[in-house]
């Protein structure tokens, strides 16, 4: 089984147990993807974690975009901005850094 800092991950790099998540794991995952985590990244990661806590799912990109626009403004709640932070997709890559499962309906 593959692992990141001792935490088990699946074949696509998502944490198997989201209880294993730490900031260090997020930073390691980002580093492996050549992403430097900025405050803007953390805003999205924290948002995703809050969303999961409240609704027990990782949101679809469309829903994530809309929800971020509502909470943080339109300049951040648009896919261009979110893809600039997470080039492999705010859903797929963002959720992975946040320790969440892959979003439902995400291929």
């Amino acid at each position: 089984m593959a692992d990141i800092l001792g935490a088990e991950v699946d074949e696509e790099g998502f944490l198997v147990d989201l209880g294993d998540w730490t900031k260090e794991i997020a930073e390691k995952m980002a580093k492996d993807d050549d992403v430097d985590l900025s405050d803007e990244h953390w805003d999205v990661i924290n948002f995703l974690r809050d969303y999961f806590e409240e609704y027990q799912i990782a949101p679809a990109v469309r829903v994530l975009t809309k929800a971020i626009a509502k909470r943080m403004g339109k300049d951040k709640g648009n896919s261009k901005y979110l893809y600039s932070l997470f080039p492999y997709g705010p859903g797929k890559q963002g959720c992975r850094f946040a320790g969440l499962p892959k979003p439902t309906g995400c291929i």
Binding site: E54, Y55, A60, A67, G105
Partner: protein, 134 residues
């Protein structure tokens, strides 16, 4: 892609079988394809949206919380059988207050749940392109 009307019939309670959570999963996937999705809760399915579920004691995920996200997925037509509620000693007040924000009405918060009698539900079902029962 042409939009079709999908209705998901939820007939079983949340934790005893896999049907309820599988249905919800499929509903979320269908919503990602921007189809016209509605849900019906009949028979023991009405227990899926009862307020105050706490799954800590059985070590399972309390996915009743996920129903609160459906509004964000533009799923805002949740029909609940009045007869099924009554049989189980339940009323609309026992259900979770599920809402959505109406884009065409300045994002006003509106209830997603509508309690209907079976005769009305059967009419709504006949208007669908696809009905899937779980």
């Amino acid at each position: 892609m042409a939009t079709k009307k999908f209705m998901y019939l939820n007939r079983r309670s949340s934790f005893g079988t896999i049907y309820a959570i599988e249905s919800l999963e499929v509903v979320l996937i269908a919503a990602a394809f921007e189809q016209d999705v509605s849900l019906a809760f009949i028979d023991d399915g009405v227990y899926q949206i009862v307020e105050g579920q706490n799954a800590d004691g059985i070590g399972m995920k309390n996915f009743s919380k996920t129903f609160h996200a459906l509004g964000d997925y533009d799923i805002n037509k949740l029909y609940v059988s009045a007869e099924s509620l009554e049989e189980r000693g339940l009323s609309a007040d026992d259900l979770m207050p599920l809402v959505y924000e109406d884009e065409d009405d300045d994002w006003a918060e509106k209830p997603s749940i509508k309690v209907v009698f079976n005769v009305e539900l059967s009419k709504i079902m006949s208007e669908q392109d696809v009905c899937l029962s779980f």
